[in-house]
């Protein structure tokens, strides 16, 4: 998949200010900062959660614990994707029961990632509340999910992409709007994956069954004697 970059939606200064604002909003909404746990969704949610924790620490003097969650094993399309992604680290220290979880991700799109993260979090305990903070909300929800804290609403077309680049992972700092480029070679690849192997396995199965039955019948007769 080739992506052509179109425009920069946020630069480093804007990202920093947005994180500071969200940090204040989180504290404003949740009076007991001691109850909070920030959980970043792998990959880029994790550094964002760490930045929020640092920001809250600056003006509240309390370091909110940060966890990481990898939702790969909870995806609803695991059987559909062509190659299994590398599974990242999930690290949630301590009991989350009774705590307020702030789930942090970079981009909110269909809501499927958040759905998976909610399922996974609930397997770790029973938090008193889960709230969602995202840097960018790009719309096109497929589930009844909304964010509690939004950095920036970016209206997009479904074919567009939103890339969040963070210095911790990407070495640069910006939010980029792009467009997926149509690839000419895509069609023959699909054919190869779809039609060819099916035909192959079908003939294999038939051949196997035929010989299999033959052997079985002979054996059965032999035994009865």
């Amino acid at each position: 998949m080739k992506i052509q970059r179109k425009s920069i939606v946020m630069d480093a200064v804007q990202i920093h200010r947005t994180i500071m604002r969200i940090a204040h909003e989180i504290v404003e909404r949740n009076k007991d900062v001691e109850d909070l746990i920030l959980v970043g969704i792998q990959k880029r949610g994790v550094p964002l959660a760490e930045r929020l924790s640092r920001a809250i620490g600056e003006f509240e003097g309390i370091r909110v614990p940060v966890g990481a969650i990898d939702i790969t094993l909870y995806r609803d399309d695991l059987q559909m994707i062509s190659q299994v992604p590398i599974v990242g680290e999930t690290a949630i220290k301590g009991d989350i029961t009774g705590r307020i979880i702030i789930l942090v991700d970079d981009v909110l799109f269909t809501g499927r990632t958040v759905r998976a993260a909610l399922d996974e979090l609930i397997d770790f305990g029973r938090p008193s509340a889960i709230q969602l903070a995202v840097l960018v909300d790009r719309g096109h929800r497929e589930f009844p999910i909304r964010a509690d804290f939004v950095g920036k609403n970016v209206p997009t077309a479904p074919t567009e992409t939103v890339e969040v680049l963070l210095s911790e992972i990407d070495g640069e700092e910006s939010v980029v709007l792009g467009e997926v480029m149509e690839e000419v070679v895509q069609e023959p690849i699909e054919k190869k994956g779809g039609i060819m192997p099916v035909a192959k396995t079908k003939t294999k199965k038939k051949a196997a069954k035929r010989t299999g039955c033959g052997v079985k019948a002979k054996k059965g007769c032999g035994k009865r004697k």
């Binding site: 094993l73 062509s82 599974v87 994956g193 196997a208």
Partner: protein
């Protein structure tokens, strides 16, 4: 590096990148067994049949736990009390299980190559849990995972495998896996249990040493193989006591190895034959860690082999 194999038949056919992918995935899966709810839904709806034609405690329990922690549905079968005892052929048994729509088959079999035979005509994924004297790939992987956790990396590390090399599938999987990852492998054991031209095994070959102290000098890890007591009847060694005298790993022998050297054993152990009581319970032994890692490695293998479609071309 993405993983796109349908089966795991042995480590001989894997690349170093593929082994690394399995070990990396296993490292992250280890944490799942520490959770309050030790289960993730990754293989929900998949059915796995565990066929054990040879006795096994550890491997079988380990596979079953791995499957259950990934939410797969499992059926298990062992030779006793099954239709195998009635004389059904391997192929018929597996064809029948396949007809019940099983997605994956985990199998241990006494014949080397039994898995490859099945892979030729079955469209289910096949995972080798040990075949004859050929390979035991998940054991090789969990050994490497344990070494990597203690030694940081496998490249350039020195590993000595001691015991019955000839009859050991664990040794073969270790040799293939370790040499592919760039480790130096030394074999040690009675010459009656050393196969001909064993030096040419693995990628780039291995070293053979008949003196145990020379074999473990400079070793970063020692992997001690189980001596099967029935081998004594075949007169491959005179007595268990003599084996212990010459090849048994004792604290005195271990002094020949560097201080950081770890001691591994695939189990079940014969204390007082290939390993002394003190070494088995000593601080260098990582034998129970191997067992813990075994579940994680098997989860990783099941997940990687089951996940996605195998013919798809380009990753996203």
């Amino acid at each position: 590096m993405p993983f796109s194999r349908k089966h795991l038949l042995g480590l001989e056919e894997l690349t170093a990148d593929e082994i690394t992918t399995i070990l990396d995935t296993a490292d992250t899966f280890k944490e799942i067994s520490e959770r309050p709810i030790k289960k993730v839904p990754a293989l929900r709806g998949k059915t796995i049949a565990n066929l054990f034609y040879e006795p096994s405690t550890r491997t079988r329990i380990s596979f079953e736990l791995a499957e259950k922690r990934l939410s797969a549905d499992t059926v298990s079968f062992s030779k006793a009390g099954s239709s195998v005892a009635k004389g059904e052929s391997l192929r018929d048994t597996v064809e029948n299980i396949r007809a019940m729509k099983v997605d994956m088959v985990v199998m241990r079999h006494g014949s080397s190559g039994a898995h490859r035979f099945l892979a030729n005509f079955l469209d289910a994924s096949i995972i080798n849990a040990g075949d004859g004297q050929h390979e035991h790939p998940t054991q090789g992987l969990l050994d490497m995972m344990t070494m990597r956790q203690h030694l940081g990396t496998l490249g350039g590390k020195r590993v000595t495998i001691i015991g019955d090399i000839m009859h050991s599938r664990v040794a073969r999987s270790n040799i293939w896996g370790l040499t592919k990852m760039g480790a130096d492998v030394t074999l040690c054991g009675p010459s009656t249990m050393m196969p001909a031209e064993v030096e040419r095994l693995g990628e780039g070959g291995v070293r053979v040493e008949y003196d145990i102290r020379a074999a473990i000098a400079g070793a970063d890890a020692i992997n001690i193989l189980r001596i099967q007591l029935e081998r004594q009847k075949a007169r491959l060694f005179p007595s268990m006591r003599e084996y212990f005298e010459v090849f048994g790993v004792t604290p005195e022998v271990l002094e020949a190895a560097p201080k950081h050297c770890i001691v591994m054993h695939p189990g079940p152990m014969n204390r007082g034959v290939e390993i002394s009581q003190e070494v088995a319970d000593g601080e260098r032994a990582v034998i129970l860690e191997q067992v813990t890692n075994g579940v994680a490695v098997r989860m990783a293998v099941l997940f990687l082999v089951a996940g996605g479609s195998f013919d798809a071309g380009t990753p996203e």
